[in-house]
């Protein structure tokens, strides 16, 4: 089956995210409830979730969420994985009957560890690099197979349908995570392909996004410069890769990475003090191709927490709230109030200013600067 038309995906969407900064795991019910409130923002053509802290028993293994819609695909994937990886555990992803969900693909997950001698490994490559290569290879070259997610102790659940139905289908009320992301999709090109739903994941990055990246063409070519191949033609995909490039590969602090994606205007830079100006200027000059232009609100999940970012002119809605140890971020206030009726603080995200929900354990030093 053709995965997508060979054209860029454009969609309006609902997004929601909840993180316990204390690292306390909670069931998927809350996120399902939150995203369901924004039913009108989806069209039933895609919904999905990401959870972090799902698999404590396999916390050190890469958890691959895979889908297959070709009978021959699983075998090919298995053969490819065998080149570099030891499969520690493999199982179907449990599902349940859900209204409006039909013809799901084959859904499996496997937990893998790198082989001591990985055949495709280059001298400087890390395990993560190889996992990226693996996931991208499967997505690009193995027909009928698609990697939903490839991080550790996390997973992405998504498919064609309204997000609340997808949640039921994947029995998310039975999982616990300290960070949940959800996405309801309103695509303007209609394809009923489960791989095309969101979140999009790579390693432990999971991205949900509402918007239209008008700079997509150059963002994509910019990433190609660094070896990323964008097979899905989605904004979410480039956002994910950009986070991976900037933070994981180039070791930019989160704050600086957000400055790259949604930089201040030159007129603002001109009014900064010398040190800040030099920083902002350098980032803009070097990372022009990474600037995300056009309307967007994105939520990016990672092992360390969640970051929300609006485009620099704030052309898409995004609301945040805090209560107890939790940070809630959603496209609409109602989606927060549905699960947190009485937040301590509630505010609208500012254009270009990231909001960070940092999970205390194992926090990156970088995140400390943005609070």
């Amino acid at each position: 089956m053709r995965r997508l038309r060979d054209e860029k995906d454009m969609s309006g969407c609902a997004i929601s995210g909840i993180v316990s900064e204390a690292g306390v795991r909670f069931s998927g019910e809350a996120i399902m409830e939150s995203i369901a409130v924004m039913h009108e923002r989806s069209s039933g053509l895609g919904g999905g979730f990401a959870g972090y802290g799902l698999y404590p028993e396999n916390a050190d293994d890469y958890a691959l969420h895979l889908m297959f819609d070709e009978p021959s695909a699983p075998k090919k994937v298995r053969a490819y994985l065998d080149r570099n990886w030891v499969i520690v555990r493999e199982e179907p992803i449990p599902t349940a009957h859900a209204d409006n969900i039909s013809t799901p693909p084959v859904l499996r997950r496997c937990f893998v560890q790198p082989k001591p001698r990985m055949r495709d490994r280059l001298p400087a490559e890390t395990d993560d690099d190889l996992m990226v290569k693996t996931a991208l290879h499967i997505n690009r070259f193995i027909d009928g197979a698609f990697v939903f997610s490839s991080g550790k102790n996390m997973g992405i659940f998504k498919g064609v349908g309204y997000p609340e139905d997808i949640g039921v289908f994947f029995r998310l009320d039975e999982y616990e995570a300290h960070l949940w992301l959800a996405h309801g999709r309103f695509p303007t090109n209609t394809t009923g392909w489960w791989g095309g739903a969101h979140p999009f994941g790579l390693l432990d990055w999971a991205v949900v996004h509402n918007g239209e990246i008008s700079s997509y063409g150059i963002n994509r070519r910019y990433l190609e410069n660094f070896g990323y191949y964008c097979s899905l033609h989605t904004d979410t995909e480039v956002v994910t890769y950009l986070f991976d490039l900037l933070i994981r590969k180039q070791a930019l602090p989160l704050e600086a990475a957000c400055r790259v994606l949604a930089p201040p205007f030159w007129s603002e830079i001109a009014t900064m003090d010398a040190r800040a100006r030099m920083m902002a200027r350098t980032l803009r000059i070097v990372y022009g191709g990474a600037l995300l232009n056009g309307p967007f609100s994105i939520l990016v999940g990672s092992t360390d927490g969640m970051v929300a970012l609006n485009d620099r002119t704030k052309l898409r809605p995004m609301v945040a709230a805090r209560a107890d140890d939790r940070l809630y971020i959603a496209s609409e206030e109602a989606a927060i109030r549905a699960v947190c009726p009485d937040p301590e603080t509630l505010w609208h995200a500012e254009g270009g200013v990231p909001i960070v929900g940092e999970v205390k354990e194992g926090a990156h030093a970088s995140l400390a600067h943005t609070a």
Binding site: G217, I218, Q250, V286, G294
Partner: protein, 506 residues
């Protein structure tokens, strides 16, 4: 002896009912195409001398003059066209090389006109540049792969030191036009306009006249094969240095400024004897290979203490992508590519019209190649050669250019009428001449204002187009070929340009 086979190319039509015999035309034509007979009180014309520059028609206070293309006076023939026949007559008469000024005038396919731009509808909002910020600021120079930032207790600390950059208020610069090939007034106007509008002008291989020193911060100084006017002060009195390897109008050909144009001021500026011909060799005689180029680049970088970017300008030829890649690897911070429509003060017509490739294709190839090689950020790409309007600029940027050079458009803004007779030194518009009687026709204040207006109006249009596409920074357009579609192009052309067919979605 009168060249009797040569017929007028233009007809000067004078409406005698409107002619007031004021003789403005007589006084303004450097080619003596108009003549006043005081006995009969009548102005008459010598059409054979007319070059079609429209000076007379423009200045005629009663609009009594019309310059028309001479009627087709040969039996029509698809192969033996009038221009072909005329050229043969001229050569049979002169025994010399046919010369032309300005750029290739043959009707090759213009790919700018086969590419259309995108605009935002519904799924993303277009942006109104009159209400919202719209950023055209462009930096030319070498960029690192990444920026190193270290978190410290006082915040983030920048560890990366950027290579020198040229900061442009908009991605348009004035291309190389030497003092000598154009008048000092024209050079001054270009320098001042660039300076005032936050962009750059290029000295060409003419040295830097003293009166341009105040605008040196807006000057890219050129080092070409003749090395005219080059010394360490010249290199340092600049914003950047450009090594000129080739020129789009005449790839593989050197330059020749006739001695008549080398007056005292030109002589001083070029550092050559007065009245001597200024001959720029075809190649640099110290660059016979890419390693030699690298040596020169680094020799210059040493001379300017690595404080300014070094640009290498090449003509768009068949393997331009590989050559550009070589230039980047040899240390060029900026690669300027000049397409075959690029202008010139003088070039053999056959070369001008038949050598080199269109800049659109060259640009597409170079940008793609540098990206494939992962070295695109190591150098900026500047393209030149037939950039006619802001849409051409936007398309060039979308194809992958960082900025463009405009030459002919700038000259036209100053009054050039594209008569293509620059090489005669008799430019009636005071641009491509050193004759004091003609140079004063170009008031640099007026020319500067017109150039600034041109830059501003193109800037405004670029902002409108950017806003229409839903982006508010030029870097989001740069190399963003998703915003381009081809119309009426073959598959191979689309492939060469790296763009999709119009009608094909994102």
């Amino acid at each position: 002896m009168r060249p009797w086979l040569i017929q007028p190319e233009f007809e000067i039509e004078r409406d005698l009912d409107r002619c007031i015999r004021c003789q403005v035309c007589v006084r303004q034509c450097a080619n003596d195409a108009h003549e006043y007979d005081s006995e009969d009180d009548v102005v008459s014309a010598h059409s054979i001398r007319c070059v079609g520059c429209h000076r007379c028609a423009t200045l005629c206070p009663t609009d009594a003059i019309r310059i028309k293309q001479a009627e087709l006076d040969f039996r029509s023939h698809a192969c033996w066209t009038p221009s072909v026949i005329r050229n043969i007559y001229k050569q049979a008469e002169s025994g010399g090389i046919l010369l032309s000024g300005m750029g290739n005038d043959r009707p090759y396919r213009n790919y700018w006109d086969r590419m259309v731009l995108n605009a935002a509808q519904v799924t993303n909002p277009s942006i109104d540049p009159l209400r919202e910020p719209m950023e055209l600021t462009t930096f030319l120079g070498r960029k690192p792969d990444k920026v190193e930032v270290a978190p410290t207790r006082g915040g983030l600390a920048l560890k990366t030191v950027l290579a020198p950059q040229l900061e442009l208020a908009l991605p348009i610069m004035f291309s190389a036009m030497s003092y000598g090939s154009i008048s000092l007034n024209a050079s001054l106007a270009l320098a001042r306009a660039a300076y005032e509008e936050g962009t750059f002008a290029n000295s060409g291989e003419g040295g830097l006249h003293k009166s341009i020193y105040p605008y040196a911060d807006a000057m890219i100084v050129q080092v070409a094969s003749g090395r005219f006017g080059v010394n360490v002060d010249y290199l340092n009195r600049s914003a950047a240095v450009e090594i000129k390897i080739g020129q789009g109008a005449k790839p593989g050909i050197g330059g020749h400024l006739p001695g008549e144009k080398v007056d005292a001021a030109v002589s001083e500026t070029r550092m050559i004897p007065e009245n001597s011909d200024a001959l720029s060799p075809a190649p640099h005689h110290d660059i016979y290979s890419i390693e030699d180029l690298k040596q020169l680049i680094y020799a210059i970088k040493e001379a300017i203490r690595y404080a300014k970017p070094v640009c290498v300008k090449i003509a768009a030829v068949h393997n331009v992508a590989a050559i550009a890649s070589g230039c980047v690897r040899a240390g060029a911070d900026i690669v300027a590519i000049d397409g075959f429509r690029g202008g010139t003060g003088a070039a053999p017509t056959m070369i001008r019209d038949n050598v080199g490739i269109p800049i659109e294709l060259a640009l597409a190839a170079v940008d793609e190649r540098l990206r494939e090689e992962g070295i695109r950020n190591r150098a900026s790409i500047v393209v030149a050669g037939g950039m006619r309007c802001s849409a051409d600029v936007v398309k060039a940027i979308a194809l992958g250019a960082d900025a463009v050079y405009i030459g002919s458009a700038a000259l036209i803004a100053m009054g050039c009428h594209m008569c293509q007779k620059c090489y005669t030194g008799k430019c009636n518009w005071g641009i491509a001449t050193q004759d004091p009687y003609l140079t004063k026709r170009l008031n640099p204040e007026v020319a500067e204002r017109r150039l600034r207006n041109l830059l501003r109006s193109w800037g405004l249009e670029i902002k409108e187009m950017l806003g229409g596409m839903g982006v508010n920074a030029i870097e989001s357009l740069r190399g963003n070929r998703e915003h381009l579609r081809g119309v009426g192009l073959s598959d191979s052309e689309l492939r060469a340009l790296g763009i999709k067919q119009a009608g094909v979605g994102a």
